[in-house]
């Protein structure tokens, strides 16, 4: 790709950009000149951040609050943004989104609207647009490309971009683009939202460190949570632990839960059956603590401890605190 125009979709932008959102911008710069489509209005601070990160344009929705709807209207609006960008002399060749369920579904519907190929679960990107994609729960890695003129990619957190160039500042101005009214009529509407109690920990899917507990915790996640907090990480759980009601299903990692790709994954009291290994395969470093030396998790662990997690985890937590003084 020679300096293609890349549309980076930023969903859920707050007061400032999150690490995963800055990563999407870096990925965009790897492929070409970046414009941003933010699904809600952005403040001055965010606009300044977008410019620092090379954004040449910032599109925001006009005429409807997209957060009141699920996916469909956002995809319809993004198709309008792609048209608007082309009308301004910037034909979009790639659209990048995060790999959250919403990101993937928005990509899916936009793909149908634009006749564009969609590649999900991207863990690495080359400047020519070739995507490295984790498949079969992380047991295989594909190199894949969209064969359509426009490609749509959803990128996992902590993705591998080689060594991206530092951004040249962009001059993005905010351009409102109308949300097409007909997109709202046949849509699913969010009629209620209840915030869950916040753990104060990083999101599981983008955390650099994940400490996950399984059946071996016997329902006591205290040592898992304390180690996660000492490492500034997120807490995860096996399906068995979530099914037992010990933790919320949001924390479930694996075949039917979330796949994570942190720098460090610490598995505690998880045997590592195939479906459990699935969630941790793409972690850079895996540490396992399990009392059963025959646990399959030890086959994939970079560092394994055969021992009682109720002894090992608190000792590690205390040692980390001690070294930090």
């Amino acid at each position: 790709m020679t300096e293609a125009n890349v549309l980076v979709v930023l969903d859920g932008v707050g007061e400032s950009l999150k690490k995963s959102q800055l990563e999407l911008l870096s990925a965009g710069r790897l492929l070409g000149t970046v414009s941003v489509a933010a699904t809600a209005p952005v403040g001055e601070a965010v606009l300044a951040q977008l410019r620092e990160n090379g954004a040449a344009a910032a599109y925001v929705p006009d005429g409807a609050d997209l957060s009141e709807y699920l996916v469909g209207p956002t995809a319809a609006w993004l198709a309008e943004v792609v048209s608007a960008s082309e009308a301004q002399g910037r034909p979009v060749r790639a659209v990048l989104l995060d790999n959250s369920p919403t990101g993937r579904e928005t990509a899916a519907r936009l793909g149908v609207r634009l006749g564009a190929g969609v590649i999900t679960d991207v863990v690495g990107l080359e400047p020519d647009g070739t995507a490295h994609k984790s498949v079969l729960a992380g047991s295989y890695e594909d190199r894949a490309r969209a064969t359509s003129p426009v490609s749509i990619l959803t990128l996992k957190a902590n993705l591998d971009l080689g060594s991206p160039a530092a951004p040249a500042p962009g001059s993005a101005a905010v351009t409102p683009v109308a949300v097409p009214a007909d997109a709202l009529t046949r849509s699913a509407r969010v009629t209620g939202r209840a915030a869950k109690v916040s753990s104060g920990r990083p999101d599981l899917t983008e955390a650099r460190v994940v400490v996950a507990g399984g059946r071996g915790t016997d329902g006591d996640f205290g040592p898992v949570e304390e180690l996660a907090d000492a490492l500034g990480g997120a807490v995860g759980a096996s399906r068995a632990a979530a099914d037992a009601g010990w933790v919320s299903h949001d924390l479930q990692v694996g075949q039917t839960g979330k796949t994570v790709s942190p720098q460090l994954y610490i598995s505690a009291g998880i045997s590592g059956a195939v479906q459990q290994k699935a969630g941790m395969q793409t972690a850079k470093v895996i540490v396992a603590v399990n009392s059963d030396p025959e646990s399959p998790v030890f086959e994939i662990a970079d560092f394994g401890v055969v021992g009682d997690l109720f002894e090992v985890l608190p000792q590690a937590t205390a040692e980390i605190k001690r070294r930090r003084g």
Binding site: A108, R113, V135, R143, D250, F303, V305, E311
Partner: protein
């Protein structure tokens, strides 16, 4: 129509995730040792609960299990019929092999249109093989339906479907008018098992086999030819080199931190 429901449930024959799975030389999945996708059982159960509450098949409701794929894919339909689906539809054509999400959803949308008016399309949260989660949303877009995805519960009252879903840090209630597409998570219900009566009853139920031409598509629109993505290579992740395994002698927590420090992780 009154309070009856005509529901299409997508079912898929997938390699059993209990075993290691493999990608063959043609860069497509080895489909030996396949089963009805576990996540589709929740979709089927959701459909059966909705129709059971309205008098089941006798009350004029229908649960149609739909699959696409080669001859083996019919096994997923047979299982669905044993569990309680009213009938099965098998979209089968050699040209479908190698379809990506785009081509798959195009073909499934055409098959659903051929069934006449449908109130609900229900799917699992993902297939356990492709795992892209693209097909439900793409199907909804092709059919012009609202999508209510990742439902941990759902109910239909009158012509309105309402679901609960768990997002990051938030639980949402979402509503739409029928017809609509809903995908359910493994929290939505406890799928039932086929019982003896169900297995006997399934033998009398019909599986309709549809060709591409019968749903109005030609070979160039599906399979590798109709796909918008291409896999250039597929390789197993290099096996993770066996690491260091120690047995706790009272200082394993400290050794663990030594390891993390050596890896520059703390």
């Amino acid at each position: 129509m009154g309070d009856t429901l005509k529901i299409v449930v997508l079912v898929k024959h997938v390699p059993d995730a209990q075993f290691d799975r493999h990608i063959g030389p043609e860069r497509t999945l080895d489909r030996s040792e396949s089963i009805l996708s576990e996540l589709d059982e929740y979709a089927l159960e959701a459909a059966l609960q909705l129709t059971d509450a309205r008098g089941g098949d006798k009350g004029g409701n229908e649960v149609i299990a739909l699959t696409m794929g080669g001859p083996d894919a019919a096994n997923a339909l047979k299982k669905a019929l044993q569990i309680g689906a009213s009938s099965g539809v098998h979209l089968s054509d050699e040209a479908l092999a190698g379809s990506d999400a785009w081509a798959t959803s195009l073909a499934l949308a055409a098959a659903i249109r051929s069934l006449g008016e449908v109130d609900l399309v229900i799917t699992g949260m993902a297939s356990t093989d492709g795992e892209t989660s693209l097909v439900p949303a793409q199907l909804a877009e092709h059919l012009g339906l609202p999508q209510l995805t990742f439902a941990s519960s759902l109910e239909v009252s009158g012509r309105t479907v309402a679901i609960q879903r768990d997002g990051e840090g938030v639980t949402e209630t979402v509503e739409a008018e029928l017809p609509a597409l809903v995908s359910v998570t493994d929290q939505a219900n406890e799928p039932r098992y086929p019982n003896f009566k169900g297995i006997l009853a399934a033998k009398k139920k019909k599986i309709a086999t549809l060709s591409l031409a019968e749903v109005g598509l030609d070979a160039g629109q599906v399979g590798a030819a109709g796909s918008l993505t291409a896999v250039e290579s597929a390789k197993p992740r290099p096996p993770r080199a066996a690491g260091t395994i120690i047995t706790d002698e009272g200082d394993a927590g400290v050794k663990l931190v030594d390891f993390l420090a050596a890896q520059k992780l703390i």
